[in-house]
């Protein structure tokens, strides 16, 4: 206000360029800023490519798109690419789901799990993506509501993983989970 010029807030800028085109005197130029990072590492015989947004940047789907572009360039090196999406149903999830062959929804038999499962299956339906379902912690409560949701959305339940303290502890030690259900999921691919 004081200087009667607009102030740019870099963290909120999505790089759409609308201001640059709208400005009649070309006062705005385009630059690049770091919005996140892509990491690559190897372990257990797999390559891990990880995208991470810089805290404070709002538009996380831009990072997802950058990671997917990075993968696309290396696609021929792999037989199978597994993408781990964010939670929820908003832009980073949609960006991650775009163009995949199959989406595996993971849920648990609680009212919250069921509620959110319904949303993600509907989203995949909208995006015309084939969906499969894994029920995690399948033994903590009645699975019927989940099975109904799966049926209503024409989704096949491909595996069920029980709750067990050993799995919890392995996970909390940062170790991959060994269970026959995991093999079932892999076989389904």
């Amino acid at each position: 206000m004081k200087n009667k010029v607009p102030v740019l807030v870099p963290d909120q800028c999505t790089g759409c360029r609308a201001c640059k085109i709208a400005c009649p005197v070309n006062a705005i130029s385009e630059g690049r800023q770091t919005i996140g990072y892509i990491y690559e590492s190897r372990g257990h015989g797999i390559d891990l490519i990880k995208g991470e947004i810089k805290p404070g940047i709002e538009e996380s789907s831009l990072v997802v798109n950058a990671v997917k572009k990075y993968i696309k360039e290396r696609e021929k090196n792999y037989d199978c690419i597994i993408i781990d999406t964010a939670a929820g149903t908003h832009c980073p999830v949609i960006a991650a789901l775009m163009g995949v062959d199959v989406g595996i929804a993971v849920t648990e038999p609680t009212p919250l799990g069921n509620h959110d499962l319904n949303l993600i299956l509907r989203l995949m339906n909208e995006l015309k993506i084939k969906s499969n379902l894994v029920i995690n912690r399948c033994n903590i409560a009645d699975k019927k509501p989940i099975e109904k949701t799966a049926e209503r959305n024409h989704t096949e339940i491909i595996a069920e993983i029980p709750y067990s303290k050993e799995i919890q502890q392995m996970y909390s030690k940062g170790m991959p989970i060994k269970h026959e259900a995991i093999k079932k999921i892999a076989d389904s691919l």
Partner: protein
């Protein structure tokens, strides 16, 4: 109105369960409003026993671009300029096609088009709803519609609505992650409670979420949920907290009662009265005045 936000970074660590129990206890002392800012998958109301929300309002915080095919001169300028890959080219008709799932509604295509073939239209991208819980306090929640975007702006809107209730305390349940809905939840909060669990991913995600909190210079503290699943790692979290002068205001043990409470659509302090003591002691450490 004092605003307290509960966040976690990682999903599934028990953030909403903790929020619900804190809400019930807090409402016995103060006039509160609970706000579910997890607009992607809102389910605080479920834990508070509400299966159907009342007073639903369609809200619109987003625009999308629409093409008037007759006006298009096939120059492809829009295709090159779109930063969100939301414009695809229809080779058959030789015109652009807007992918409604990717369009951010920024209007750049409209600005660059030499023949004004694009127009921006407001889309109803979310539903805001309200209900009164059986515990006497209201809850306001927002739910993003399928395939829509703009969750940050929806959070702003439902917080504005909650502001009108004249409650003494607004208790906000944030989304997982650190993206726009979380930033919008944290913004203008007076105090933050971060819920985590003893897993490497939960700690790392919480640390990232706390960077947002630090950015806004808001005081905060940590609750460690299911702390006894990995006592060694819990110690690591406590050491991290101590090094950074962050108070750990509560440690909740793993208990199947939490799942039973969830399945019965009850906050754990209601389902199992023994938990009142633990949650009251947590509440005592949150500055309310």
């Amino acid at each position: 109105m004092k605003k307290i936000t509960v966040l976690s970074g990682k999903g599934g660590v028990g953030k909403s369960s903790v929020t619900a129990s804190l809400a019930v206890l807090l409402s016995r002392e103060k006039k509160i409003v609970a706000v579910d800012c997890d607009v992607d998958a809102s389910n605080l109301s479920l834990i508070l026993g509400i299966e159907k929300m009342e007073k639903e309002t369609q809200i619109s915080t987003n625009y999308k671009s629409f093409l008037d095919e007759k006006k298009c001169v096939s120059c492809k300028k829009c295709l090159d300029i779109c930063a969100f890959s939301a414009i695809e080219w229809d080779e058959e008709k030789n015109i652009p096609k807007v992918n409604k799932f990717l369009c951010e509604g920024c209007g750049t295509c409209q600005l660059i088009c030499p023949n004004s073939a694009f127009s921006l239209k407001k889309v109803k991208n979310a539903v805001m709803s309200e209900a009164k819980t059986e515990y006497g306090f209201p809850i306001i929640s927002g739910q993003l519609k399928m395939g829509e975007s703009g969750s940050g702006k929806i959070v702003d809107l439902i917080k504005e609505e909650a502001e009108k209730t004249n409650a003494e305390i607004m208790l906000i349940d944030s989304a997982a992650g650190i993206g726009c809905p979380v930033i919008a939840s944290v913004r203008e909060s007076d105090y933050i409670v971060a819920v985590t669990e003893p897993t490497p991913s939960a700690l790392s995600d919480m640390k990232r979420a706390l960077q947002i909190v630090e950015h806004f210079s808001i005081p905060y503290s940590i609750i460690i949920n299911r702390w006894d699943l990995n006592k060694e790692f819990t110690k690591k979290i406590e050491e991290f907290a101590q090094r950074n002068n962050i108070p750990v205001i509560g440690k909740i043990g793993y208990d199947k009662k939490f799942i039973e409470a969830l399945v019965n659509l009850k906050p754990v302090v209601v389902y199992e009265k023994n938990y009142e003591k633990l949650f009251s002691s947590i509440l005592d450490k949150i500055p309310l005045d």
